[in-house]
Structure formats: structure tokens, C-alpha cells
């Protein structure tokens, strides 16, 4: 038992030491080789092709997997792309909105998982729409440059999800009708807790 735990401790330590060197460019390295050799699923490829056909260079197709298509888009174009996804591709609701902090890139990524109830051919599909907001070192939530346009007027279902991202990561959604706290206490005055520089005590 004790030897096991020692082993795992040394494992994690060596991991931590080696990762900073790998960190700068893991993303393009990991994704490109995956796409080329594997034959892409046809239906999912059709969805991503329609978006690329409409927007060209403004969107980047991150991956096309079975039932999942991921589109990266800049914050200037996200409203147009989201509107096309709703009106042109029949996706009708957002299942999940996730904020991910990337301190080394000075960016916060917001990922929308969009699904469809009304079109039965899309029942299995999740369209992943990702965008990135600028990240400030000393955040003043709502009053700094960490802002994104809201998708609430396009997908009504993001309302509470975006409120959660606002309090947990400090991303202010411009044009959201109800930019208030949701889960955190009203007098929370620390960093937004899901940022990486908010460290749990004792860990």
C-alpha cells in the first residue's frame, strides 16, 4: 500500500515538472493528426461544411467526430454564426455553457453545447460552439474587458447558464437582460472561483 502511494506521488511530481515545457503548443499538435487519417463521419461533415461554406475563414472547424462537431469562432462573429446555427441548421436549444480559464493564453474560453429537439435527424448531434474572451489579471467582474456578446436573444435557454459563467469566471455578457449573481453569495468579493488563480486552501 505505502509503496503504491509513493509511486503515484513521484509520478505526479515528474508530471508537473515536465509539463511547463510542453505547455506552449499542445493544441495544434494534438488536433491536426487526428483529423487527417480518420475518415470523417459523413453526416457530421455535412453540418460543418454548411457552416464553412457560409462563413469561410471566420470559423475554424476544430474537430468532426461521431455526433459531435466543434466550431471555434472569434467573439466578433459569434452572433452571426449562432443565428445561422439556429435558423439554417435547425438547432434549437443550448444544453450546457462552460467557461474554461486559460491563464497562459490570457483568455477565457466559453463553450456552448447546442442540440436540437425539433429536428429528429439531429437528435444525436451536439454542435459545440466555442469562443474566447480576453482575460484580465485583476478582474473587476462586469467592469473590465472580459466581455462577450450574449446569445440569450438567439437561444433563450442560455439565460441561467450565462449568469453562472459571469459569477464563476467573471465573463460579462453584453446585452444579457439579467446580469446578476446566481449561485454565489451576494457579498462574494474574492476572485471568480473557477479561475485557475483561485486556489483551494490546503491543496
Amino acid at each position: 500500500m505505502s509503496s503504491d502511494s509513493e509511486k503515484s506521488v513521484t509520478d505526479t511530481q515528474s508530471e508537473e515538472k515536465s509539463t511547463p515545457a510542453e505547455k506552449p503548443a499542445p493544441k495544434p499538435v494534438a488536433k491536426k493528426p487526428e483529423e487527417k487519417p480518420v475518415e470523417l463521419p459523413a453526416f457530421e461533415k455535412g453540418i460543418s461544411d454548411k457552416i464553412v461554406e457560409k462563413f469561410g475563414d471566420k470559423v475554424e472547424v476544430a474537430f468532426v467526430k461521431e455526433d459531435r462537431v466543434r466550431i471555434n469562432v472569434s467573439r466578433e462573429n459569434i452572433l452571426d454564426v449562432a443565428e445561422f446555427i439556429r435558423d439554417g441548421l435547425n438547432f434549437d436549444h443550448v444544453e450546457s455553457v462552460t467557461g474554461i480559464d486559460f491563464p497562459q493564453d490570457k483568455e477565457i474560453e466559453v463553450v456552448y453545447h447546442i442540440g436540437s429537439y425539433s429536428d429528429s435527424s439531429l437528435a444525436r448531434q451536439i454542435l459545440v460552439l466555442a469562443t474566447r474572451a480576453q482575460r484580465e489579471e485583476n478582474p473587476i467582474p462586469g467592469h473590465d474587458s472580459t466581455k462577450l456578446p450574449t446569445l440569450r436573444n438567439i437561444f433563450y435557454s442560455v439565460e441561467f447558464h450565462e449568469r453562472e459563467i459571469f459569477e464563476m469566471l467573471g465573463v460579462y455578457f453584453d446585452g444579457h437582460p439579467d446580469n446578476r449573481r446566481l449561485l454565489l453569495p451576494e457579498d462574494w468579493a474574492d476572485l471568480p472561483p473557477l479561475r485557475k488563480d483561485f486556489v483551494l486552501k490546503g491543496r
Binding site: 509520478d11 508530471e15 499542445p26 444544453e95 450546457s96 453545447h113 433563450y156 441561467f160 446580469n179 483551494l200
Partner: protein, 377 residues
């Protein structure tokens, strides 16, 4: 920072309208506060204020490795703990590239269907007491024990099982489990069929829930609701059928749909789901391989390769439950997001309560199949 923060701005209220705080300790709200504005007996606006049981599951998950995350991630809904873990386990399996043995898949399906029934029975018991129907509290609370005993036999724990692990399930079934399970499930089915006479055909329940809190099909889709709320509004959507995971594609799953969209339909769909679960368990017991391994051996600190992300979802007792795992090649997830059905259904609450009588609030609120602890995570 002296400036008032956006979350602290006070709302102006009309002189005619009274603001009422329901919760957070009121038994009719359950760890959450509803700020209700009423005009006489009618609700003008409702502002749900969750967060009283926020435990930071997502933050905690970033500090623990994929195996250590298992016991704490099931805490949001301990009655439905297998289904809460299910999408996480599926996601981690994809990140680590693990193939699950056939028998383990069937064991998982049986465990998750049993858990669905256990959750719905608890929910139904509370629904009964919300409407002042004490029999409907006692019966489900008692009959639930049958299945809890079964889960105890299977996993060793009564509610928090921590049974699903990446690569299968923790333990194989005990000897003779199939027979005991079949016997309990058959009795359970016979028992819950009796509920229709005492509860669902009861004129008092019908008077209190029919045509209250009606959610139309279009609105159910637009608001992004899920599970029983969605299916009660006439949308035929069940992930067990639409996006079958594990062995659900080999089983015959029937989706229960009702068109009314009122509180009555929303309270009946979970009960129909339990009957369907009994069918699925019987099928799974029949088709399950009689022997074989139920788990793959894992390395001490399993980790993925590079920056990858995976989004998996399953049909839980309340609806579609998604888990988004982002891995950066370390033994801990870089970010873990639980997209829970309770949180997704919460958006329908202010919408449904507008214009409703205050007395109908408990029946509408609990018919949303809402679990406060899960919504807060």
C-alpha cells in the same frame, strides 16, 4: 470596488405588489429561495435564487485525479448516484481509451435503472407530501426500500454507491443476484401499479394539477427543458433511445410522452418511466452474459494525451445529464462541467409561475422534477 456590484442592485416594486420570500428553509422550496411577487393571490413574477447548497463540485474535480473524483461527483444527487456518475465515467473512458467488458455494460444498465426508480420514488414521496397526500408519502418511501436493499446487495452501500468506475463497475454481482432482482422488480412493479388508484386517479390530485402551469411544446423546446418536463409537453426525446449509450441499443426502450404539458402530465411521466424501467431491467437480466469480467484494470494514475475534450450525456431520472471533461494530459481533469437537468429545468419555473395562483406554487415547482442540490452542484 466601492461601486455597487451588478448582483446587488435592488429592485423597485410597485405599491400594489408584495414581495414574498419562500425559502430557503421552507419545506416547500427545499434549500432554495423563491422571491415571489404577488398581486393578491396571483403571482406576478418569480425569481429563483439557488445556490444555498453550492459545493463547488466542478472546482474540487480539478484537484483530484480521475479515480478520486468518483465518490464526490455522485454527491449532487445521492438518490440517483449511478446516473450522475454515468456521463463522467463514459467521458473518462473515451479520454483514456478504455474498452468496457460486455457484462459490465449490462450491470451498469441494471444499476442505473434501479437508481432511476429509487430517485423517482423519493421524488414522488415529496410530491405527495407537497400536496398534503400523506399516503403518497408513506407508500413510495416504504416501497423504495425494496430497491435500496437490492442496491445494497449489489454495491455494498445503500445510497452513495460509487459503483461506476472508468472501465466497468467496481464489483461483480453477488451470487444469485439475478433471481432476487427479478423477484423484487416484479413485486415492485405490481406495487407501483396500485399508485394509480390512490394518487393518479384521485380527483383531488387532478383538481390541483390539471391545467396548472401549462408549458407548450414550443416553449419547452425554446427554454431547453429536458427529461420528464420535456416529454410531458409532447416532445419525444429520450437519450436512451435517441443516443443509446452502453447497451441501450440492444434493449427495447419505450419513450413515454404526454401532450398536455401541465403539472399532472409532468407528475405522471416519471411514474410511467418507472414501469418502463422495470421492463428494461427484466430485458437486461435476460440478455446479460452470465459470466465474464466486469472491469478493466487501470493504471495507478491514468491520464489522457494532450488537450482533448469530450462531452457525454445520459438520461438520468430527471432528464439528460451531460458531463464535459477537458483534459490537458495530466491525471486530473483541467476542467469538468456537469450540465445537470435540474439547472436546465429551473429556467421554466419563473415562466410557469407567472399568472399562476400562489397555492399552485408547490405543485408546479415540484412537478419540474427539480433537485436543488443537483442544480447548485
Amino acid at each position: 470596488m466601492n461601486e455597487i456590484m451588478p448582483g446587488l442592485a435592488l429592485q423597485k416594486v410597485d405599491e400594489r405588489i408584495m414581495t414574498l420570500n419562500v425559502g430557503p428553509q421552507h419545506p416547500g422550496s427545499g434549500h432554495m429561495r423563491l422571491i415571489v411577487q404577488i398581486d393578491g393571490d396571483y403571482i406576478v413574477a418569480c425569481d429563483p435564487d439557488p445556490g444555498y447548497v453550492h459545493r463547488g463540485e466542478e472546482k474540487m474535480a480539478e484537484y483530484r485525479n480521475y479515480i478520486l473524483n468518483i465518490p464526490h461527483l455522485e454527491r449532487p444527487v445521492i438518490h440517483d448516484s449511478c446516473n450522475v456518475l454515468y456521463p463522467y465515467v463514459l467521458g473518462v473512458e473515451e479520454i483514456l481509451g478504455i474498452e468496457v467488458p460486455e457484462r459490465a455494460k449490462y450491470v451498469r444498465v441494471i444499476a442505473s435503472e434501479l437508481n432511476r426508480c429509487i430517485y423517482i420514488m423519493y421524488w414522488l414521496a415529496i410530491y405527495g407530501i407537497f400536496l398534503g397526500h400523506s399516503t403518497m408519502f408513506m407508500w413510495p418511501a416504504g416501497d423504495r426500500e425494496l430497491l435500496i436493499d437490492l442496491m445494497e446487495k449489489m454495491t455494498g452501500a445503500r445510497v452513495t454507491h460509487a459503483h461506476f468506475i472508468p472501465g466497468g463497475v467496481r464489483n461483480d454481482l453477488p451470487p444469485n443476484f439475478e433471481d432476487v432482482c427479478l423477484r423484487h422488480v416484479n413485486y415492485f412493479e405490481k406495487r407501483i401499479k396500485e399508485y394509480s388508484a390512490v394518487f393518479y386517479d384521485n380527483p383531488i390530485l387532478i383538481a390541483r394539477t390539471k391545467d396548472t402551469g401549462v408549458l407548450s411544446r414550443q416553449d419547452a423546446i425554446r427554454l431547453g427543458t429536458t427529461g420528464s418536463v420535456l416529454r410531458a409537453s409532447g416532445v419525444d426525446y429520450d437519450l436512451r433511445k435517441k443516443e443509446p449509450y452502453d447497451v441501450y441499443d440492444e434493449l427495447d426502450v419505450h419513450t413515454n410522452v404526454m401532450k398536455e404539458g401541465d403539472s399532472y402530465a409532468r407528475s405522471k411521466i416519471p411514474w410511467l418511466d418507472m414501469l418502463e424501467s422495470c421492463n428494461i431491467i427484466r430485458q437486461a437480466l435476460q440478455k446479460m452474459p452470465k459470466s465474464g469480467s466486469v472491469r478493466v484494470k487501470l493504471k495507478p494514475n491514468p491520464k489522457g494525451k494532450g488537450l482533448t475534450s469530450v462531452y457525454k450525456r445520459v438520461e438520468s431520472g430527471r432528464g439528460s445529464l451531460g458531463c464535459y471533461v477537458v483534459s490537458d494530459g495530466k491525471p486530473e481533469p483541467y476542467r469538468l462541467k456537469l450540465s445537470v437537468p435540474s439547472f436546465r429545468n429551473l429556467i421554466a419555473l419563473p415562466y410557469l409561475l407567472k399568472g399562476e395562483k400562489l397555492g399552485n406554487m408547490p405543485s408546479v415547482y415540484w412537478s419540474l422534477n427539480y433537485w436543488p442540490v443537483e442544480a447548485d452542484r
